[in-house]
Amino acid sequence: MRDFEYEAPATLAAAVELLARHDGACRPLAGGTDLIDHLRTGRLEPDLLVDVKKIPELNVLELGPDGLRLGAAVPCYRIYEDARIAAEYAALADSCRIIGGIQIQSRASVGGNLCNSGPAADTTPSLIALEGTCVIAGPGGAREVPVERFCTGPSRNVLQPGELLVEVRFPAPPPHAGSHYRRLIPRNEMDIAVVGVGASVALDESGRNFVSARIALGAVAPTPLFAEAASAALAGRPVSDESIARAAEAAREIVRPVDDMRGTIDYRRHVAGVLVERVVKAAVARARGEEIEYRPGH
């Protein structure tokens, strides 16, 4: 593997200083499950790795009255092993349970998944559906970016040289809310999504009408997409096959997938709609307090 230096700063300020000083020739290291592979294959050639796992702000996982704070270096297992977080932010836990295998989930972080900015990243649609906001630190201070505006292209995002993703913040779920993430893969586990869909819904007290919804799509465009029209198609509507089918159609209209070995453009467009219907229905069931029939990997 390529030769590089390694630093593990204990403070956010020290990490930002290192990243800024080594502008461009430096990469933050969280779980390393993508980064170390990219170093080995020569896809990335940094001179310095800044291990961010010793920085307290990046290890925060805190559920409070204002919502959830998810530090950028928190590994996947901590999310789904926290029963309250897994219940209140179910789509996020669904994503974390199916990223790679268990060994990967021991290391891989949601923040790293977002910063790699892959079009098929399994956590990103859930972050968008749950209305996540990125908190970014940099030499010029802190700034916030909604998750749906973070990725700008395959492996590209809004982070400027010297900037570091610190955490993703989520609002507290509204009453009668539920969420879900599901992907289509031809295997049972350990694969990259052909299409992935995350959705959150809030219902009224009767459980028969949508108050609001957020739907996000993965693997159907150069970046994960917030399906705004599809989400708006549900707000204020009755929960019915018709309203959900209209949202699915709206989602199909915004996809811009590629043809590749995982699926053709037409196939991905079709599946995007199918998954929107299934994922919204599962989110509705969860919002009503029902158990959904869903086994990770199936």
Binding site: M1, F4, E5, Y6, A8, L29, I36
Partner: protein, 161 residues
């Protein structure tokens, strides 16, 4: 060349100190520096699980961990599974159930199965298959491996009943 680092870790119960370059993975150091060659290199990209070790209580692919990251941590490898020369229930079940052919994937499967049974002593077949999804075997197929884990779970349960 980057300066070598001194790393201290507890490996299979022993306090160990070693020198490594930042670019060396935990897998490389276990095998080439510490001579713990039971941990195997398969794909070296986190797909096959042949290099699985338990790091601070969590199973990880040691090919995707830098050895410097293991400073101050506790590592358990396949060499730490048998106690006082006696195979444990998982090893015994793999042996008796012939849950291997070439054997390259076996240390990873056994370490991963240990991690599963430590967390979930009576897993269902589905749970076993899901937990072992990050371990690939290219010889036998998985049925005998899954059955060996079930047998080991029963043996552990019987031993502790």
């Amino acid at each position: 060349m980057a300066k070598k680092r001194i790393v201290t870790a507890t490996i299979n119960g022993d306090s160990v100190e070693f020198l490594c370059e930042p670019r060396q993975t935990l897998l490389e150091v276990l095998r080439d520096v510490l001579d713990l060659t039971g941990t195997k290199e398969g794909c070296s990209n986190g797909n096959c699980g042949a290099c699985t070790v338990v790091l601070d209580g969590r199973p990880v692919d040691s090919c995707l961990v830098l050895a410097v990251e293991a400073d101050g941590s506790t590592v358990r490898t396949i060499e730490g599974v048998a106690r006082q020369g006696r195979l444990d229930e998982v090893q015994q079940a793999f042996l008796e159930g012939a849950a291997l052919q070439c054997g390259i994937c076996t240390p990873g499967f056994i370490v991963q199965a240990e991690a599963l049974l430590d967390r979930n002593p009576r897993p269902t077949e589905d749970e076993i298959r899901f937990y072992l999804a990050g371990n690939l075997c290219r010889c036998t197929g998985y049925d005998k491996i899954v059955r060996a884990v079930q047998t080991a779970a029963e043996a552990r349960h019987a031993a502790r009943a």
